[in-house]
Symmetry: C2
Subunit: 411 residues, 2 copies
């Protein structure tokens, strides 16, 4: 029961520090006119193993924190799903799909060509091609978590731009799964056939469609019974159980965990217990989601930002170039829909943060040996750069426009 | 990031199953007039590794569940602390202390003498004395979690009986720490001096006194600033951060985790953000505390209940005797306060559940080799017996009496 003495209290100290840091730096960020999530990411950097060292990079505490962070992003996507009106979403479907597709193709090409042609000297010519594919892939991802949180902080989830961004980010996750499998195949030294690629794509899309169709029929009937249960807290607890179960099911079906959580939210938004679920799940999300953002921030090794270390200045320069490409590729995607009316720059910037998805790509590349430590650091800096630059820019872009009236979170 | 494929989704399936099982069997329990916590314990037995096998007994999923269960019991004790009025508590202080002391001495003597004298043949004469001390120690504990949850389900936390039980259970935790250290010393083959014993006692009591005195002065001032923070959810998240930090501090100071969480609740009850904290922490507790009760239930190996296995009938008989002693010792404690007026039987029964505290004693005894597997099973059955018998009895005893008007949880 208590095999490692003080293991639990160590974990509790770290958890308390994460929550305190998230709220204090979140408050600081808001006071200087920035979204709170920026402060949470910075709290992660400060508490991470390369700075104050409160958050360990590995070990039992790190393992439990990783699970809590995962629960945090799942509850966040569940809440996003709850706020998502499918009919409103369908209206922006074509726009979202175009933004997503262009926002995958352009950054991939940009990243691939950049890595193939600039003199960076981090790998041998043999692996250059594969490494460039990895770099390109890492540029494709969009972190729906970061952007959704910023839009939610700004009360803009229900705006037309908000819906296009969330729609495109969800589609990006489907495309990201396909790309992840292809690059994982390359990392394993093999070749992935178009047939396999197509199958992964079909499964990822199919899961979402089937889950929402079946769940959308079952859930309203089920929750009419749940609402009659005498035991306390049945509605929110069973809603979260469905969120976790669908996330796990999505993963097992070959889709992504967060797709299942998002689908669960979309499904439960159609029940007559919608308000009770939103109201009771929010405090749970308030506890868990900061753990996710602080964890993302803690992945940054601040020594990478030191230009005086050997090769440091060159690395920063290479990373800066890649970050600019990463931003331009996604911003350009915002301008790829000539037929619809929306704030194109805001949509483009909303797609910029790579967040945890970029980190996962980079991590697979490093563990397969295709990305050198320096190349991994460059990707990490790009991920952090895009993740940190988007929240203040979004805040700026949405400044002069009043929030949309419907489906907003209260302060 | 995803080292073990599907590790996260396996965990999520188990978590969803625990929440679903807790609510379904909790509902069933309420429908047949029993407290919901009984259903949650039964859900644990059913989902445990000896029955349906959804909840693993060890491995990464079990490790994370153990932490979530720990968070669950901490949030529960935090909530109990929030509901605790120290002035009301002081009024029953002498009664609670007497009930706690008698409820430790009588069961210890009963357990020790029983194990020393009945023919059970599970250990050699050399270790009989030490084993009997362990058995006696395991009979001393009171699970404040189980009883508090039942009283909360019945809306009786604020009654005079409720306050005596909670007070005595908290004191039992202090005494339990002292006993735990003494028996751990015996398990390690040493002798524990009265000086060391006294020091542990002083630290455990001292932590509670100092934490409540200092925190009670600091917290109201601090939360006036927290209430003015612009960042969302600052009040409940920082309240939980304080709960986790004080729990960790209690552990490091040589006291128990749950004492720190309880102290945090008592402290924050004095802030002007009391209602906001109670309101927002409750959904978090609703998610986490069932994980604790289901985990406690899952520790029972149902094969122990099979009288047809070799030695099974005798083991059950020995366990039955010990369980009766365990119940009688605590019930007698309820009658140990001649000067005060309260329902003595209800208080005595409220002290009966051994819950997780008894399991921790049994586990240390088994790992040290002083308790044989059979003796461990007997303790486990006693723990389960007392834990399962108390909720329905309490419900019965409180049936004819209306709930006290103050400090009750709404349904």
């Amino acid at each position: 029961m208590d095999a490692a003495p003080h293991a639990v209290s160590t974990f509790l100290f770290v958890l308390a520090g994460i929550l305190l840091g998230a709220k204090l730096l979140g408050e600081l960020a808001e006071r200087i006119g920035q979204p709170a999530v920026l402060g949470e990411l910075l709290a992660g950097v400060l508490l991470g193993s390369s700075a104050l060292g409160l958050i360990p990079a590995s070990g039992p505490t790190a393992d439990v924190l990783a699970i809590l962070a995962e629960l945090g992003v799942l509850v966040l996507l569940f809440e996003i799903g709850l706020e998502t009106d499918l009919r409103e979403m369908r209206k922006v479907g074509a726009s979202a799909m175009t933004v997503a597709a262009v926002g995958v193709v352009l950054p991939f090409l940009g990243g691939y060509l950049y890595w193939s042609h600039i003199p960076h000297g981090t790998e041998s010519p043999d692996t250059l091609h594969a490494a460039a594919i990895f770099i390109g892939a890492a540029l494709c991802a969009t972190s729906v978590g970061i952007t959704a949180r910023v839009l939610s902080d700004l009360a803009r989830l229900g705006s037309i731009e908000g819906r296009i961004i969330i729609g495109a980010a969800v589609i990006d996750d489907v495309l990201g799964l396909v790309i992840l499998t292809v690059v994982s195949g390359i990392a394993a030294g093999g070749v992935v056939s178009p047939l396999v690629t197509g199958k992964i794509f079909a499964v990822a899309v199919g899961f979402l469609v089937v889950a929402i169709a079946v769940g959308g029929w079952v859930a309203p009937r089920m929750f009419r019974s749940v609402a009659r249960m005498k035991v306390q807290h049945a509605v929110p607890v069973l809603a979260l159980a469905i969120c976790f179960a669908l996330a796990a099911l999505a993963d097992r079906a070959g889709s992504a965990l967060i797709m299942g959580a998002f689908a669960a939210g979309v499904i439960l938004a159609r029940t007559d217990q919608y308000h009770a679920i939103v109201e009771r799940v929010r405090p749970v999300g308030a506890l868990l989601t900061p753990i996710f953002f602080v964890s993302v921030g803690s992945a940054l090794d601040i020594h990478l930002l030191d230009p005086t270390r050997p090769g440091g200045a060159k690395l920063l320069l290479v990373a800066f170039g890649l970050t600019v490409l990463a931003i331009l590729g996604k911003v350009a995607a915002g301008f790829s829909v000539p037929w619809a009316r929306f704030r194109r720059l805001a949509v483009g910037v909303g797609m910029v943060p790579r967040g945890e998805v970029g980190l996962i790509f980079a991590d697979i590349g490093r563990r397969s040996g295709l990305l050198t430590d320096d190349a991994f650091s460059v990707v990490l800096l790009m991920v952090m750069g895009t993740t940190f630059v988007a929240p203040p820019l979004l805040k700026l872009l949405f400044r002069d426009h009043p929030p949309a009236p419907a489906a907003e979170q209260p302060a």
